[in-house]
């Protein structure tokens, strides 16, 4: 079966695949982080790794890893297994759902200052 190619910006109507069809998973190329006017500040010491923010994130910008050594978090306990990692700011739109849903107030929304990045 034939393949479909990615589209280069500025391509003409004769160059692009018909009907707007694209390869799968091209949204990875779309860095929605540029939409952001607020940025989540995550405090690992307050995090219970409950995964609520991971599931609520509309752009799946919160990565996880499996770690049996564990790390210290909320109430100085050691959390093992699936752990939340730092938010991927390439995709985080700054919507604030994670901060709203966090049961341990480990995430605070701050005004984005693009100079810092």
């Amino acid at each position: 079966m034939n393949k479909v190619n990615k589209v280069k910006p500025g391509a003409t109507w004769k160059e692009i695949p018909i009907g707007g069809t694209l390869p799968a998973a091209t949204s990875l190329d779309y860095k929605t982080g540029t939409w952001r006017s607020f940025v989540p500040k995550w405090d690992p010491n307050q995090c219970s790794h409950c995964m609520i923010c991971v599931h609520y994130c509309p752009v799946m910008a919160i990565p996880t890893k499996i770690d049996e050594n564990g790390i210290k978090g909320w109430r100085d306990r050691i959390y093992k297994g699936v752990l939340r990692l730092e938010t991927n700011l390439d995709y985080c739109t700054g919507c604030g759902v994670c901060a709203e849903e966090c049961p341990t107030e480990a995430i605070k929304m701050e005004r984005e200052t693009w100079e810092v990045r």
Binding site: M1, V4, A11, G19, G20, T21, A25
Partner: protein, 393 residues
Amino acid sequence: MSVNIKSKKIPLTGAEAVAEAMRQIKPDVVAAYPITPQTPIVEIFSKYAADGLVETEVVTPESEHSAISIVTAASAAGARAMSASASQGLALMVEVLPATSGLRLPVVMAIANRALSAPINIHCDHSDMMAVRDLGWIQIFSENAQEAYDNMFLAVRLSEHPDVLLPSMVGLDGFIISHGVEIVEIYDDELMHNFVGERKPNLTLFDFENPITIGPLQLTDFYFETKRQEQEAMKNALKIYLEIGKELSKITGKDYPYFESYKLEDAEYAIAVMGSTAGTAKDAVDELREEGYKVGLFKPKLFRPFPYDDVREALKNLKGIGVLDRAYSFGAYAPLYTDIRNALYDLDKRIPIQSYIYGLGGRDIFKHQIKNVFMELIEGKYTKEEKCIGLRE
């Protein structure tokens, strides 16, 4: 012209003839919702599926909106998908129709042309297909059951051609064709199936080695380019329609032009009309010819894409034209009249042309009324307003 192939001539309604065509085409998926006068098409086809004559997945959803969504999605998955509808059913499909064409999916539908509500009416006019004429679907109108049968095969091949990849609708006048019994020449199953062959999709959702995204967002950056491609596909369809017609001719011995020109070569006055009324008009032409009038009939079959250059060439020597539309375009010139008038703009001379509206909601049109139209053309009774045939003034 006689062609030595297997065929049988049997009495069928237009709906039965279309269902026969679908049986021979062997679509992978058919989804439709019953609506008068389309119902017998899918009813008969469902029976074929239930009896094991076809291996089609027949889906009976809760609405036409779902029916067209199902066939669009099935087509995206690589299936040959077909449906059928009419009137309000087609109107309910409208949200999805430009998605089918925009995604370039070769769905084929038979439309048993019926008046749009309100007032509610189940009889024939062309207001349903005319309402969706700008949505990127190829539109072919049929004069009788035989043409409806033949057009189904043309439509499948045209839609699935790699330079076209646009959906098609084949119009047959509700009740007049869909329920009227005529002798229809049905060609050999294998021959007709081989004519359409199997669908060979370029890309499908079911190709798991090469996963694709269908229907992604295109904003100010690419939407325009994608729509330009669609227009190009319509232009290609114009050329390819004739090529496929020539192939079909080898089986049927008939010609498949953009339009039928009946006694038009030396005609001075002509009527343009689509669908079943063309049959009545031919009788009117014959009788007037016997009386010595040089009159002819111009019957468009392929309405979208509209073959402007060929229409102009066919009509350029006339002294007067009457265009009969079976639909209003409210607040504007009637649809067929608009296109024919546009086609003639590029002529150096100006041919008098008169718009007529007829047959709305299934109102009968008689031979004497068509002869009267010819006499008005001959007597030079042209107005800028459209005239109505058979309306109580």
